[in-house]
């Protein structure tokens, strides 16, 4: 599978990353090569293999449903860029 310019632009947009115009071709080649490397695995017979969701062969531990956290708003908001009326302030995302 190979990626072209528009794929790189889309990926960069989804990741909210700014990419220099003159480096897009280079990224396309590099990322396509990585995908090519991974694609070699398509040749492996995997019909009898259960898909792995995690490299550890363990099951998720479960927690008892108890409130264990206390209010630490002061601490958290002390390092926030902008706070007002106990709310975190952020740039408006809708018009």
């Amino acid at each position: 599978m190979s990626l072209d310019r528009s794929d790189i632009e889309k990926i960069a947009h989804l990741a909210r990353m700014a990419v220099d115009e003159d480096r897009i071709e280079g990224y396309a080649t590099d990322l396509s090569n990585i995908l090519g490397l991974v694609a070699q695995m398509d040749d492996v017979e995997t019909d009898d293999v259960t898909p792995m969701a995690h490299p550890l062969h363990m099951a998720q531990r479960l927690r008892v449903d108890e409130v264990t956290e206390v209010n630490r708003r002061e601490d958290f908001q002390a390092i926030a860029p902008k706070v007002e009326s106990d709310l975190y302030l952020v740039p408006k995302v809708i018009e």
Binding site: R63, V64, L87, Y88, L89
Partner: protein
């Protein structure tokens, strides 16, 4: 052209846990902003999510209740998108391997028929925070108390063919999750949210039309109105020669219309992948067995039992089993000595009406089921008439004691002694010679007048049947 409506619903039920799905912060509603958002909810570096056992149990209860395939091994995935009320930059959800697989739910329709609606899946996920877009000097305010609250997203098949079916299904899911005790069902507080997918196609066509997704619906009434509006809109677009665009539309209850929010073309590439911070969840048979054993009686089974055990009509039984507290209250009244038919009537009508009027619910009813049973017993044994019973009910409501106490204190015991009634009847006959004459001349309707007079004289305490009998005997003599 005749159009067929196709609807599928996604319900987000907030699970009734004390703490969040992946952290030990409280989920209580209405706390001051950001006081219930801990470092896990805020996505501080180095924190790890740990799954809440109770959230898993809630999902399993739902799965068992709809006869679903349970994912013995389910996996959490990251759904990536950027929004300020989602501090991690992804929502932990489930994608390929949800905890609850295919199931179904039988929905009773207004017509009296029932229909089986397929449930595609139900998966666990965390809720996001809340954005407040009021003006903070051109900025938005973020409250992250809700971030990390456990949700069960219940996805239906596109099996509904009318708006009525969609509303009936949504109500049934609501009733079920509340019955199961896994969700408080409070729609105003956002504990139960419905998104609807609607499309139209010409009758007889098999392929689905392009659908739109409706969001921001927070009551069953709005669900019906939003779907009605969207159905009309789609028909207008298609009949006007246009094309439906696949998009998300917000329902605006004030204007009663849906508005385009975002089209699918520009976004919704969520790049799901398994969350490396969470291991697969394994459900063993013994846990499932325990969940099955602890399953409460479900609405449909309760309805059938009420009809059979208590000899109630379907309408009465339906009203009584609409909620678990109401059904429990009714059964407690019957256990306390209330005759089933009378109890059904008193619980739904008298008590229901009074609670409604006072803005109370069953949980804080001033009249206990035992008191109600005691009152109904006195109607059954004819100590008081149905009419006097209302007076007694009011006194119990006002805290004047149980039925027997009130009846005694107010001297409301029905007069069943004909010896005591006779002089009163005689007096009334003597005082109304004109009516007596008319009655004897054949105007038998006047019996009602005499009964009324006796009731008035005895302040309603005379036994109506005996009054009738005695009057007839004397008037026809």
């Amino acid at each position: 052209m005749q159009w067929e409506t196709v609807i599928g619903l996604e319900v987000h039920a907030q699970l009734a846990t004390k703490s969040k799905i992946f952290s030990g912060a409280s989920t209580a509603y209405g706390a001051a902003p950001n006081t219930q958002a801990c470092n896990v909810d805020l996505a501080f570096p180095g924190v790890l999510p740990v799954l809440n056992r109770e959230a898993v149990n809630c999902a399993l209860k739902f799965g068992v209740a709809v006869g679903a395939e349970i994912g013995k091994r389910s996996v959490f995935a990251r759904k990536n998108y950027f929004y300020p009320d989602l501090p991690k930059g992804y929502q932990i959800s489930q994608f390929e391997l949800p905890i609850v697989g295919k199931g179904e739910l039988t929905v009773e329709l207004e017509s009296g028929e029932s229909k089986v609606i397929g449930i595609t899946r139900a998966h666990l996920e965390e809720d996001a925070g809340k954005s407040l877009h009021e003006d903070f000097h051109g900025l938005s305010g973020i409250d992250l108390n809700r971030a990390g609250t456990p949700l069960l997203e219940i996805v239906s098949e596109p099996d509904m063919r009318s708006i009525k079916e969609a509303v009936a299904y949504a109500r049934k899911i609501h009733q079920l999750v509340v019955y199961l005790g896994i969700c408080d069902g409070n729609m105003q507080e956002g504990s139960f949210r419905v998104d609807a997918n609607l499309s139209i196609r010409p009758y007889g066509q098999e392929a689905f039309g392009t659908r739109t997704e409706l969001k921001n619906i927070n009551s069953f009434r709005f669900l019906e109105r939003a779907l009605n509006y969207e159905l009309e809109r789609q028909i207008d677009v298609v009949e006007g020669g246009g094309r439906i665009v696949q998009e998300t539309r917000l329902y605006d209850a004030d204007k009663d219309e849906t508005r385009s929010m975002r089209s699918k073309e520009e976004a919704n590439d969520y790049r799901y992948f398994p969350d490396p911070d969470l291991l697969p969840v394994e459900i063993d048979e013994s846990l499932l067995e325990q969940i099955r054993d602890e399953m409460p009686e479900l609405p449909t089974a309760k309805l059938q039992r009420f009809i059979q055990t208590y000899a109630l009509g379907e309408k009465e039984a339906n009203a009584l089993t609409a909620s678990r507290p109401l059904a429990d209250y009714f059964e407690a009244v019957v256990n306390a000595g209330g005759e089933t038919k009378i109890a059904a009537n008193w619980v739904t009508m008298e008590l229901g009406g009074a609670l409604n009027k006072a803005g109370l619910n069953l949980a804080n009813s001033p009249v206990s089921p035992e008191q109600m049973g005691g009152l109904l017993k006195r109607i059954a044994d004819k100590t008081i008439s149905g009419k006097i019973a209302k007076q007694v009910f009011e006194a119990i409501w006002n805290g004047e004691g149980d039925a027997d106490t009130v009846i005694k204190a107010k001297g409301l015991k029905q007069i069943t002694d004909t010896g005591a009634m006779e002089p009163i009847v005689d007096e009334i006959i003597a005082n109304n010679p004109k009516q007596v004459e008319q009655f004897r001349a054949g105007k038998e309707k006047l019996l009602g007048f005499f009964v009324g007079q006796v009731m008035k004289a005895t302040r309603g305490k005379a036994n109506p049947e005996q009054v009738n009998e005695l009057l007839l005997k004397k008037l026809k003599a």
